[in-house]
C-alpha cells in the first residue's frame, strides 16, 4: 500500500519534468493551430483559457494536470486539431501497442525460461555456450539494425513471391477485412520479426538470468533433499528449484521495462506499426507539444506501474519478502 502511494508523487514529479522538457521547444505550434481553418476562434479561446497558455509554466502544469485528472483532457493536437488523447491512443493504436508489446514480452518469456532451464540442466553444453555467445552478440546489435537486417533478409528471400508482405501488421488484402483465421495467421507472420527485433536481446538476458538463478537454487540443500526423496528430476527442477529462481527474474523483468519501451518505439518506426509509439514519434517530428506530453506521460506511467507490478508480484509469490518488509 505504501508503495502504491509512493508511486503517485513519483509520477507527478516525472510528468512535471516531461512538461518542462516539452516546453523547451518554443513553438510556432500555436501559430499553426491558429492558421488551421478547421479550428474555430471559440475553440482556440476555450483552449487557451483552459490550459492557461498566457500564464506561468508552473500554473500551466497545474492546469494541465487538473484537466488530465478531472476531465481526461490531455490537450489538443496542433497537427490534427483532434484532442491529444484521441490523436495518440485512438483508432486502435492503444490496442495494437498492448498487443505488440505484450506479445513480445510473453514470447520472450516463454522462450527464455525453458531455454534457461535447459542451459542450467546442461551447463557448458552446446546450448549453454551458444546462449552465452548469442547473449553477447544480441546485446550489441541495436534494435533498429536487427529490424533492418530482418526486413532485408525477408525481402532478399523473396517472401513476396509467396504472397506474404513485409512490414506493417497485415498484408494489403487483409486491411479493413473482418477477422478470420487467415488474418490472424497473417498478423502472426508480421509480428514475428518484431518479436525477434524488440525481444531477442531481452529474452536471452532473461534466459541467462534464469540459468544463473536456477544453478544457485539447484545447489541448495532442499534440492538435495527433494532428490533424495526420489522425486523425478523434472519435478525437482520445475516445481522446487524454479519457483525459487523466479524471484530475481521478476526483478529483472522490471528493470528491462525501459529497454522494452525504447525497443518497441524503434520497432514501431522500423516495421511501420500503427501503435502509440509510432504516433508519439510522429508527434515529436511535428513538434506537437500536447501529444508529445501525453506520450511521455503514458511511457512514464507504464514504467512506474510496471516496476510497481514487479514489486507487488514479488511480494505475492515470496512470503519471505513480505515478512521482511
Amino acid at each position: 500500500m505504501v508503495r502504491v502511494a509512493a508511486a503517485v508523487p513519483l509520477i507527478l514529479a516525472a510528468t512535471f519534468v516531461c512538461f518542462l522538457l516539452v516546453h523547451l521547444a518554443p513553438g510556432d505550434a500555436w501559430t499553426r493551430l491558429e492558421a488551421n481553418p478547421d479550428v474555430s476562434r471559440s475553440t482556440l479561446e476555450t483552449f487557451r483559457a483552459r490550459f492557461g497558455l498566457d500564464r506561468p509554466l508552473l500554473i500551466q502544469y497545474g492546469l494541465w494536470l487538473q484537466n488530465v485528472v478531472l476531465r481526461g483532457d490531455f490537450g489538443l493536437s496542433f497537427e490534427s486539431a483532434l484532442p491529444a488523447f484521441d490523436a495518440l491512443f485512438l483508432s486502435g493504436r492503444l490496442a495494437w501497442t498492448v498487443l505488440v508489446a505484450g506479445s513480445t514480452m510473453l514470447v520472450a518469456l516463454l522462450v527464455a525460461v525453458p531455454l534457461g532451464v535447459w542451459m542450467a540442466a546442461r551447463p557448458h553444453g552446446i546450448v549453454d555456450r551458444a546462449g552465452t555467445v548469442l547473449a553477447f552478440g544480441l546485446v550489441s546489435v541495436p534494435v533498429f539494425l536487427l529490424g533492418l537486417l530482418l526486413l532485408w533478409l525477408l525481402v532478399a528471400a523473396r517472401v513476396g513471391d509467396l504472397g506474404l508482405g513485409v512490414g506493417g501488421l497485415f498484408d494489403h488484402r487483409y486491411l479493413g477485412r473482418p477477422w478470420s483465421w487467415g488474418k490472424v495467421g497473417n498478423l502472426l507472420w508480421h509480428l514475428w520479426p518484431v518479436w525477434v527485433a524488440a525481444g531477442a536481446a531481452e529474452g536471452i538476458g532473461w534466459a541467462r538470468q534464469t540459468r544463473g538463478n536456477l544453478q544457485d537454487a539447484l545447489a541448495e540443500p532442499y534440492v538435495v533433499a527433494a532428490r533424495s526423496k526420489g522425486l523425478a528430476e523434472r519435478w525437482v527442477v520445475w516445481r522446487h528449484a524454479l519457483r525459487n529462481a523466479a524471484n530475481p527474474l521478476i526483478s529483472m523483468l522490471g528493470l528491462s521495462l525501459p529497454r522494452l519501451v525504447s525497443g518497441s518505439l524503434i520497432a514501431a518506426v522500423v516495421f511501420n506499426l500503427p501503435t502509440v509509439e509510432r504516433a508519439f514519434w510522429q508527434a515529436v517530428q511535428a513538434h506537437d507539444p500536447y501529444v508529445v506530453l501525453a506520450g511521455l506521460s503514458f511511457f512514464t506511467v507504464f514504467l512506474v506501474g510496471g516496476n510497481l507490478t514487479a514489486d507487488l508480484l514479488l511480494l505475492a509469490i515470496d512470503p519471505r519478502i513480505r515478512r521482511g518488509a
Partner: protein, 363 residues
C-alpha cells in the same frame, strides 16, 4: 562466472581492445584513409554501389589494381538507380595520391590520401563502400562518423560518474533529509522513459537552431542526467557500509572535514565499482545514441555517426536496392561488442580481485 566463461572472456579482452584501437586509429586518420571529403556531394553518383576493384578484365591480367569507370542511370519506370560500367577503360589505383586538401589531426595541412584513382581529368571515382543518397563517399562518412560513435559512450560516462559518485556519496554519507531528497530525485530519474525523453530534447534543440555540435553535447548531457539514478543508488549503499568502518572514524577523530572524508577516504573504495559499471554502461549508451540518430534526433547534418548513417537505410525500398548502406551497422556492432567484452573482462578482474582480498563491498 564459470571457468569456461572466464577463459573465453579473459582471452577476449585483448581482442576487444585491439578492435577498438584499430577502429580509433582508422577514425582519427579518416581524411587520409578515404579518398574524398565526407561531405562532398556528387548527385550523379547517388546510390552508387561499392566499386569493384579488379585485377583482371577482357584484356587480361594486371598487377596494378584498377576499376572500370562507371556512371549511374535512373530507370525511367521504377526510378531504381543502375550502374553502367565502361569496360573498355581501365583506371588504375594510385597509392599516396594527392587529392582534396585536409588538416591531419585537425592541425597539419596535408593533401595525401592512402589511395585514389589515377585519372588525369579527375572524373572517375572509387567508392569502396558505395555512395549514399546524395552521392557522398560512404567509406569517408563511416570513418568520420566513427569519431562521434566511439567517443559518445566514454564521454557520457565522464559526465555521469562524478555526478553519480558525488550524489550517491552525499546521500549515503549525510543521511537525513539530503539522503531522502537525493533518493527521490534518483527515483524520478529512473522513472523517466529514457529514449522518448532524449528524443524530445533532441527535437527541441533542432527547432531552436542550436548548432549540431552543441546539440549533440546537450543530448549526451541529458543522457547522463537521466542515467545517474541507478549508479548513485549502488554508491549510496556502499558508502552506507563504508562510513561505519574504523578508518572513517579515525579520519574524523583527527579532525578531517566531511567533504574530505567523503572524497579522500570513502569514495576511493567505490572507485573500482564505478570503473566497472561505467565500462558496462558504454554499450548501452552507444546504442542509445545510435537509435536516437537513427530516429533523426541525435547527430544532425553536417555531423554524422554510425547511427545517423543508418538512418539513410530507414526505408525498406532503400535497403532492398542499396544494402551497402547497412555497412555502418557492422562497424557499430563490432565496436559495441568490443566495449561489452572489455566491460565484462573488467568486471571479472574486479570480482576476482575483491574475492582475493576477502572484501565484499556489494550487498
Amino acid at each position: 562466472m564459470t571457468r569456461l566463461g572466464r577463459r573465453t572472456v579473459s582471452g577476449a579482452w585483448r581482442g576487444a581492445a585491439a578492435v577498438l584501437a584499430v577502429l580509433a586509429v582508422m577514425c582519427i586518420l579518416a581524411e587520409f584513409l578515404a579518398p574524398y571529403p565526407y561531405d562532398e556531394q556528387r548527385n550523379k553518383d547517388a546510390f552508387a554501389p561499392p566499386t569493384r576493384i579488379r585485377f583482371h578484365d577482357g584484356e587480361g591480367w594486371s598487377i596494378r589494381p584498377f576499376v572500370h569507370p562507371f556512371r549511374m542511370e535512373t530507370d525511367v519506370h521504377t526510378y531504381a538507380r543502375r550502374i553502367v560500367e565502361d569496360e573498355s577503360r581501365r583506371v588504375y589505383l594510385r597509392f599516396f595520391a594527392h587529392g582534396a586538401p585536409y588538416r591531419l589531426f585537425g592541425v597539419f595541412p596535408a593533401d595525401v590520401h592512402l589511395f585514389d584513382l589515377a585519372d588525369p581529368n579527375r572524373e572517375a571515382r572509387i567508392y569502396v563502400f558505395g555512395a549514399d543518397a546524395l552521392g557522398r563517399d560512404l567509406l569517408s562518412r563511416v570513418l568520420v562518423g566513427g569519431r562521434v560513435s566511439l567517443v559518445v559512450g566514454p564521454y557520457v560516462l565522464l559526465l555521469l560518474i562524478p555526478f553519480a559518485a558525488l550524489l550517491g556519496g552525499v546521500s549515503g554519507y549525510c543521511g537525513g533529509w539530503a539522503d531522502f531528497l537525493l533518493q527521490r530525485l534518483g527515483e524520478v530519474a529512473v522513472a523517466l522513459p529514457g529514449l522518448p525523453v532524449v528524443l524530445v530534447v533532441g527535437a527541441a534543440l533542432a527547432v531552436r537552431h542550436v548548432s549540431p555540435a552543441v546539440s549533440l553535447l546537450t543530448i549526451l548531457g541529458a543522457l547522463a542526467a537521466i542515467g545517474w539514478g541507478g549508479m548513485a543508488r549502488v554508491v549510496r549503499g556502499q558508502v552506507l557500509s563504508i562510513r561505519e568502518r574504523d578508518f572513517v572514524l579515525a579520519a574524523r577523530a583527527v579532525g578531517a572535514g566531511h567533504m574530505r572524508i567523503l572524497c579522500r577516504h570513502i569514495l576511493p573504495h567505490v572507485a573500482s565499482y564505478l570503473a566497472v559499471s561505467a565500462t558496462l554502461l558504454i554499450p548501452g549508451t552507444m546504442l542509445t545514441e545510435a537509435s536516437l540518430s537513427f530516429l533523426g534526433f541525435g547527430v544532425r547534418e553536417p555531423m554524422t555517426s554510425w547511427g545517423a548513417l543508418l538512418a539513410g537505410a530507414r526505408s525498406l525500398a532503400t535497403v532492398e536496392r542499396s544494402p551497402w548502406l547497412l555497412i555502418p551497422g557492422g562497424f557499430l556492432v563490432a565496436s559495441v561488442l568490443a566495449f561489452a567484452g572489455l566491460g565484462e573482462a573488467f568486471r571479472e578482474a574486479e570480482a576476482s580481485h575483491a574475492s582475493g582480498r576477502g572484501v565484499h563491498l556489494t550487498h
